[in-house]
């Protein structure tokens, strides 16, 4: 893939092209997880800088460039959500919203965009598993404890959820 080759040669115009074509999709997955616009912008910047720095380590025999970037975005977003800064900003926002919010928030409904919109078409027992594992980054073990269902059930149900999901993304 020529784009990857150019990126590995550190051609800025290739990176600019990459941004123009992929930033909306990556921004959307970040928003799906982070939901706060400002923090999502921070994560997006971090993700693109990471892509630029780590493009050497991308191996196109292991998968598509987009899949690689999607996983970087997802991981960075989950890291952000679990950070102290995010927890603080959530508290601040709740505070400011309770003071100033008079209807009409600028926040997007993150259930209605990108992959999460597709996941929300699944039935509830599948939706919750993909929500917790993919969008919130919990391990199957943690999910089993959170929901009080056996680990084996979590495993098989998550697999079924993914099979359903595949039918929806086709």
């Amino acid at each position: 893939m020529e784009l990857v080759m150019l990126l590995k040669q550190r051609q800025q115009f290739a990176f600019s092209y990459l941004y123009d074509n992929y930033s909306a999709a990556l921004h959307t997955i970040i928003l799906n997880i982070v939901s706060d616009h400002e923090l999502a912008s921070d994560v997006l910047q971090e993700v693109f800088v990471k892509i630029w720095k780590q493009i050497e380590s991308y191996d196109d025999s292991k998968g598509r460039l987009f899949t690689w970037m999607l996983n970087i975005s997802r991981n960075a977003s989950i890291d952000m959500v679990r950070s102290k800064a995010f927890q603080n900003s959530q508290q601040n926002r709740e505070l400011t919203e309770s003071v100033y919010d008079s209807g009409g928030s600028t926040r997007v409904d993150t259930d209605q965009i990108g992959l999460r919109k597709i996941v929300h078409q699944l039935k509830d027992e599948y939706k919750v598993l993909i929500e917790l594992s993919y969008f919130q980054g919990y391990t199957q073990d943690e999910i089993s404890k959170m929901l009080g269902i056996p680990l084996g059930t979590v495993k098989t149900r998550l697999r079924s959820a993914l099979i359903q999901l595949r039918k929806f993304v086709k």
Partner: protein, 267 residues
């Protein structure tokens, strides 16, 4: 290996989405090179995932591209071979702080969880031990009742045996309130006593049963602390039975007060 079932199991999707365990990833890395069908399934899910991720998107704010392009500019001038450093020290510190803060939060919450789970565990363990004790004492009680029931059953069997003679012994003069019964097996000559109503003997005293043989009392055994029926000494011949209160251990001839007396009915 059933490749089709493997592909259909959802493992491809969890691999592509980054949800697979390290074991599953290692397996998939091995199998995808070996089976073109698996490679094809991965490609096809990646493609449809990409297509899906491009629908209903929200574009980032316009200023962000410039910021990103600026932050990579310094790197590119250093040439391709050099692994670029993190863009600004301030930013790096920021992430360090996040990381430290996050690990502190994790540590504290994990310690908290440990305490919580330990308490839960201790409480559950205490309850478990208490239940175990209850169970043991219930079992012991059950065994006592089971033994008593078996004793009663065998007593009933014995009493209803036609060869057993029942000798009622009412209280003698002055002891009219007392009453006891002897069951005497005419075949085996076994003697059983049911102390229906006798006052509690003092610690140094004991009731003794006598068989009356030709007008003479013959020791038929001491009445101990028995449940229900007491089995006493075998008696070959007797015309009657009596009970006296003796010193503990009794003796060959009666010394104490007689309480009850009954004659064997001659048929």
């Amino acid at each position: 290996m059933d490749i089709k079932a493997y592909i259909e199991s959802g493992v491809v999707e969890s691999y592509v989405l980054g949800l697979a365990s390290s074991q599953e990833i290692a397996e998939m890395d091995r199998l995808r090179g070996q089976y073109p069908e698996i490679q094809q399934a991965i490609d096809s899910f990646e493609t449809s995932l990409e297509k899906a991720a491009f629908t209903n998107t929200v574009a980032p704010s316009p200023g962000i591209k410039e910021k990103i392009m600026n932050s990579i500019k310094n790197d590119s001038s250093q040439g391709a071979a050099i692994i670029p450093m993190v863009s600004s020290p301030a930013r790096k510190m920021g992430w360090m702080q996040y990381a430290v803060a996050a690990s502190v939060i994790l540590l504290v919450s994990s310690a908290g969880l440990n305490i919580y789970f330990y308490r839960q565990f201790s409480a559950a363990n205490e309850k478990y031990v208490a239940l175990l004790n209850d169970k043991t004492s219930l079992e012991a009680n059950l065994n006592i009742y089971r033994t008593k029931t078996l004793d009663m059953y065998s007593s009933m069997q014995m009493m209803s045996d036609p060869s057993v003679i029942k000798v009622s012994m009412p209280g003698v003069k002055g002891m009219e309130n007392n009453f006891a019964t002897v069951f005497w097996d005419s075949k085996t000559k076994d003697v059983y006593l049911l102390p229906n109503k006798l006052p509690q003997a003092k610690d140094d005293q004991q009731y003794q049963l006598w068989a009356l043989v030709d007008g003479k009392p013959v020791d038929a055994g001491m009445i101990g602390d028995c449940n229900g029926l007491c089995r006493l000494k075998n008696i070959q011949v007797a015309q009657g039975f009596a009970i006296t209160l003796e010193k503990k251990g009794g003796g060959p001839i009666p010394h104490g007060q007689m309480y009850v007396l009954g004659k064997v009915a001659t048929s």
